[in-house]
């Protein structure tokens, strides 16, 4: 079966999650990947969204982080201050799954502004739950599309901490989590170097060249001696992902007439 780079990215991200894993999920590709994992290899994965839904099993992907679908299919719904204090800050999360607009070579993320903070060229939504997810999840996985605009030499704003300036700088912060352990893009896979903590290309997708990935990176990308090739999507992975996306598309396109039926 043929597939798109976005499908490969989502599927590669889903493969990182294991049965029983407790995963704090962000909206977008992380949510698609986490639910794909739940519907394929890890049916007992525990998905937590910051809206307070613990152990949720949505049939369609939520558009917002607080869709009713998440609450209806959850083991329990807790107040929001609790999700950040008792669950995240207390260290009960195995994996924080994050996206971002910009990433730098040490896995720091920007979701706040492009340009100057006070007079930004582009004001983005901001940090939301990410600064504390980045610190308190035992580790984070990051997923975003790779281009010179997203993989930048210098972030305009640091919304969430990766390895800061690299080396031991993160450890000196005294935070509980190990930080970003893997970055999945639409071209390949990067992991932090054990010493310098600089992101290093360790795998690529079929039909994507190393030079193409280097060219899509805004700094001179470190490349592992042996760049592996990620196995292409299986038929099952593709079918389950496409079914999920199609159910989601239909659900989100429901007309307002259906939603406010009974008003008049």
């Amino acid at each position: 079966m043929s597939y798109t780079p976005d499908e490969m990215m989502t599927i590669a991200a889903a493969r990182l999650l294991w049965p029983g894993c407790v995963c704090f999920v962000g909206i977008g590709v992380p949510s698609a990947a986490a639910n794909l994992a739940r519907l394929t290899r890890a049916p007992d994965i525990v998905l937590i969204y910051e809206s307070g839904t613990i152990g949720t099993k949505p049939d369609v992907l939520p558009l917002s982080i607080g869709d009713g679908e998440l609450a209806e299919t959850a083991t329990v719904v807790v107040p929001l201050p609790e999700i950040f204090s008792y669950w995240l800050q207390a260290g009960r999360i195995d994996v924080g799954f994050l996206g971002a607009a910009q990433i730098d070579r040490h896995g720091n993320l920007n979701t706040t502004v492009i340009g100057d903070y006070a007079h930004p060229k582009t004001r983005m939504p901001g940090a939301g739950g990410a600064p504390e997810i980045a610190c308190h999840a035992r580790q984070t996985f990051i997923v975003l599309k790779q281009s010179p605009r997203s993989f930048v030499k210098r972030l305009d704003f640091r919304s969430s901490a990766g390895f800061l300036g690299g080396g031991g700088e993160r450890a000196a912060l005294g935070v509980g989590g190990a930080g970003p352990q893997i970055v999945i893009t639409d071209l390949g896979v990067l992991k932090p170097d054990a010493q310098t903590r600089e992101l290093t290309l360790v795998a690529r997708y079929q039909n994507v060249g190393v030079e193409q990935i280097v060219a899509a990176t805004g700094w001179p990308l470190a490349v592992a001696a042996n760049v592996e090739i990620v196995a292409p999507p299986t038929a099952e992975e593709l079918v389950v992902l496409r079914d999920l996306n199609e159910r989601t598309r239909l659900a989100h396109a429901q007309t307002r007439r259906a939603t406010i039926a009974g008003v008049a």
Partner: protein
């Protein structure tokens, strides 16, 4: 606690220049109350909400706000809040002072406010640029361990406005589903205004349900579908199609102004607002 209609309640309790929190995390967003504040032309408000959402995009775009305290300012799952962006990027329709936090920071600030403590404390903001742009994010040394912890000043809004599913005749208010920081925002406020889907004889709450007792509630208005286009669990679903549509409506100043005129300013109340949308969808 007293029951009233929404127009009288907004007229009686909302003043220019106040600090106002309208909470509800994606769920139970008090759109009807916000639209009434817009109709009554309130100005210079300091708006507080973890996720400004479409409700504050509308209030900012129409010119109600002078300041915003928030932690995530996007259209959930869709992209930008273009009116918020226009205010921050181009001072349109006026400059907007922003006080930016993380969700965990805002949650700690509301929790402290509800407990009438001066500040909230958390292991937060580590390694981020947020403390550099928000002077209210500071730190304290733990007297027991010596650890440095982040602090945020308590949030104590002049007024918190919520939408809930149910009130009983005495004015006890019950909230079901995703509850966000609604209880904390309610108890942090000096004045608490609530719109509800309906009033029942008996609140029928489970023992550990989220109930705001009548004696912490200032006033209640019954406004069916008062959270629309967000949702009220057990009553109606989130209109995700509208959230997708808002991307086009809010992107352009004129389109936005026309939409607000037609669907909010020219409508007498929330029932009329719903009617205009229903006609459009028919």
């Amino acid at each position: 606690m007293r029951f009233g209609n929404l127009r009288e309640i907004v007229d009686g309790f909302i003043r220019d220049g106040q600090t106002i929190a309208m909470e509800g995390f994606t769920h139970l967003i008090p759109f009807a109350a916000a639209h009434e504040i817009i109709r009554q032309g309130r100005r210079d408000l300091h708006l507080i909400r973890m996720t400004p959402d479409l409700i504050y995009d509308q209030m900012i775009g129409i010119g109600c706000a002078r300041a915003l305290t928030f932690s995530w300012g996007g259209n959930p799952g869709v992209g930008s809040l273009y009116r918020l962006r226009d205010a921050v990027e181009h001072d349109w329709p006026g400059p907007l002072e922003i006080h930016e936090h993380s969700h965990a920071g805002m949650a700690a600030a509301y929790t402290a406010g509800a407990a009438r403590l001066p500040f909230g404390v958390l292991r937060g903001y580590a390694g981020t640029d947020l403390p550099g742009v928000n002077a209210q994010i500071r730190s304290v040394t733990c007297p027991y361990t010596g650890e440095t912890l982040a602090t945020v000043p308590a949030l104590n809004p002049d007024v918190t406005i919520l939408h809930a599913q149910t009130a009983d005749r005495q004015g006890n208010v019950r909230i079901d589903g995703i509850v966000g920081a609604q209880k904390e925002a309610a108890l942090a406020a000096r004045t608490l205004l609530v719109t509800v889907e309906h009033v029942v004889d008996s609140i029928g709450a489970a023992m550990n349900a989220i109930v705001l007792p009548h004696w912490v509630v200032t006033a209640i208005a019954v406004v069916p579908r008062g959270a629309f286009p967000s949702y009220a669990h057990g009553h109606y679903a989130r209109d995700n199609a509208f959230y997708l549509e808002w991307d086009t409506i809010a992107r352009d100043r004129q389109t936005f102004a026309r939409w607000m005129q037609q669907h909010v300013l020219d409508c007498r109340d929330h029932a009329e607002f719903l009617h205009t949308l229903e006609q459009q969808a028919a």
